[in-house]
């Protein structure tokens, strides 16, 4: 029990540190004459896909399925999300279609890693390579125009007005989803089974629970969250889909997962740090006086440099499930 309480203490410390840093940053922003509300808005927008993907990946990695094909799933679901929105004339259905696409890919990934005994890292890379070509093929096959498609304005999912600025419903959902994922993993029987399938699949099997089904379910759930993140980018954020829409976000989310040590709430915090850094960087970049000095290309590098720094600092202390990425075979 000692380890558990010390873990909780650490977690609280991390969250406190995040809050303090944000307070300091907001103070600096006010000094520079930037708008804190718009900064928070853009930070939350950038956070949303990262948080959804990272929380989803926490769930399936807990069960022992490591999916690094997140980047590819984001790409594919961003296209199907737009397609769904236009087909059903409704942005929300677009989001749903995106989530279903992600769930489908997650399901297939679960099948091949559970029954196919797949090398999950290679298979995930396969998804990423597949997506690079497939979405360009899809864009051509559906709309007949290479590399980009702009969603009709009226179909875009609009943000709602809240006391802390304009927020997308998906952002709120992402925050709730992180909390729910935590409760699901730690307070429910099924969540316990998922964690056990990742730690000690033999014991789960002996207890009469199907390891294969638990893992496939977790992979499907993780995929659905990832797909929602992809559809969010195209349907609710950019209002368009381009062939580089994900821009490494799948891997940044993977970094969030590593940073969070598979804890959904910490993954949310990590996603917020990344999202906020990105929003902050872009806001600073367009400030008069700065944009003449620092080329835009360097501002573009900030999310990736942040990721490298945070991963470099955070790594080495986290504990991962023992059977993560290892196919389970009955003897």
């Amino acid at each position: 029990m000692k380890t558990l309480s010390s873990l909780k203490g650490k977690r609280a410390l991390w969250l406190l540190a995040v809050v303090v840093i944000i307070a300091i940053v907001i103070y600096i922003i006010e000094e520079f004459g930037l708008n804190a509300v718009s900064l928070l808005e853009s930070g939350l927008l950038s956070m949303t896909p990262l948080a959804l993907v990272a929380v989803g990946e926490c769930i399936n990695e807990k069960s022992g399925v490591v999916n690094i094909g997140l980047e590819g799933m984001l790409l594919i679901s961003s296209v199907t999300g737009v397609y769904g929105a236009e087909l059903f004339e409704n942005g929300f259905i677009g989001l749903l279609i995106g989530a279903l696409t992600g769930a489908f890919i997650g399901f297939l990934f679960g099948i091949i890693s559970v029954y196919g005994g797949a090398d999950q890292v290679v298979a995930g890379t396969g998804i990423n390579i597949f997506a690079l070509g497939f979405i360009q093929y899809l864009l051509m096959a559906i709309w007949g125009f290479p590399g980009i498609h702009i969603l009709e304005r009226r179909l875009k999912v609009r943000p709602i007005y809240t006391p802390i600025g304009q927020l997308s419903i998906v952002t709120i959902f992402a925050i709730i989803a992180a909390g729910l994922a935590h409760i699901f993993l730690y307070k429910t029987v099924f969540g316990f089974r998922i964690r056990a399938a990742g730690e000690n699949p033999e014991a789960v099997d002996v207890a009469g629970i199907r390891v294969d089904r638990v893992r496939i379910f977790a992979s499907t759930l993780g995929g659905a969250l990832c797909g929602l993140g992809g559809a969010f980018m195209s349907v609710a954020w950019f209002g368009a889909v381009v062939k580089e829409i994900s821009a490494g976000k799948g891997f940044i989310a993977l970094a969030c997962v590593v940073f969070a040590g598979l804890e959904p709430l910490l993954a949310l915090a990590a996603a917020f740090i990344f999202g906020f850094t990105e929003g902050f960087a872009f806001s600073v970049a367009v400030t008069p006086g700065v944009k003449e000095i620092i080329p835009f290309y360097f501002i573009n590098m900030i999310p990736y440099i942040t990721t490298l720094i945070i991963v470099t600092i955070a790594i080495g202390k986290r504990r991962f499930p023992k059977a993560s990425g290892v196919p389970y075979r009955r003897e």
Binding site: I112, A123, G126, A131, L132, Y137, F251, Y304
Partner: protein, 358 residues
Amino acid sequence: MKSERVSLMKRLKIPEVPLRPFIQSGIAVLIGLLLGALLMVIFGYDPIIAYYWLFRGSFGSISNIMETLSFATPLMLTAVTFAIGSKAGLFNIGAEGQIYLGALGAAAVAGAITLPAGLHAAVATAFAMFLGAIWAIPAALLKIWRGVHEVISTIMFNWIASHLVTYLTIYYFAQPGQAHRTVPALPGARYPVLMEGASLTAVIFVAVAFCIGIYIYLWGTKAGYELRLVGANPDAANYAGVNSRRVILLSFIIGGLAAGLAGASQIIGRPPAWSLYATLGNVVTLGFDGIGVALIGRNHPIGGIFAAIFYGGLRHGGRFMEYNAGVYSELVRAINGLIVMALATPEIIPIIRRRLKI
């Protein structure tokens, strides 16, 4: 049934073990092509016509084969980047960024300074390889010192490289009056074109020689043995006194050299551009394609050459498929991804067999 096959193999004197990789790769390629056909059918294209043009376009005539080989040249090198990482137990997917740096290095030397013909090409190639290796080192050091997983770090370095090289191309190395590309390579820095009108140049000999060199290094030297030992069994390597940190660094550096050479091959070894586009259009995705090529070639430098020719053929034939059958050529890359997934799932074959009761 299995014993029957073994005895047949013995009678025909076919060694069973070395053949398996070919069969596995072949089956994975077939699965990839079949699923690709399925994707065509879903969107209303005719896969038979499409594949007819794909393969006729890639291997149908001498000039097409020359183009295919030209496409294969960088791919066999980026495949080495992934393969040598894989042999050392790493998952190095940083070829994409390293090839950008290599291309920039070659373009800078070939366009900006003047040297005697021949020597100029050699210096440009060497500098490209040097930059590729330099860009590979940070990910290796992060892995060694902090245990940062190379999948995350190399992808981040790829994106940083993409922005950095675009910036440098536009602001420092652009052709005056034409910001969209670097100064074209001077004639003395170009590899000779092998056939009039084709884009295949002598750089392919350098590429093949590099792959063979890596093969000799891996299977003929002590350092290569140590590298494979670390990949196959880190504990045993540790026990045998192999310095695994040195091995990791070396495998990243060699991978960087390969990717840098691949970058050079697209600048000073491929007409008609002879320069780097600011969109990075003539080098982009070659690094990722190399992953698939390496896996089809079973992470073997020589296997990679053949896999690169196969995939280079798909890339070149894809243009014909697009023109004559209307199927967008990017589908070829999707097929590559499907092949990778099939290769990652070795037990797919027994499962299919069981289901079909073969």
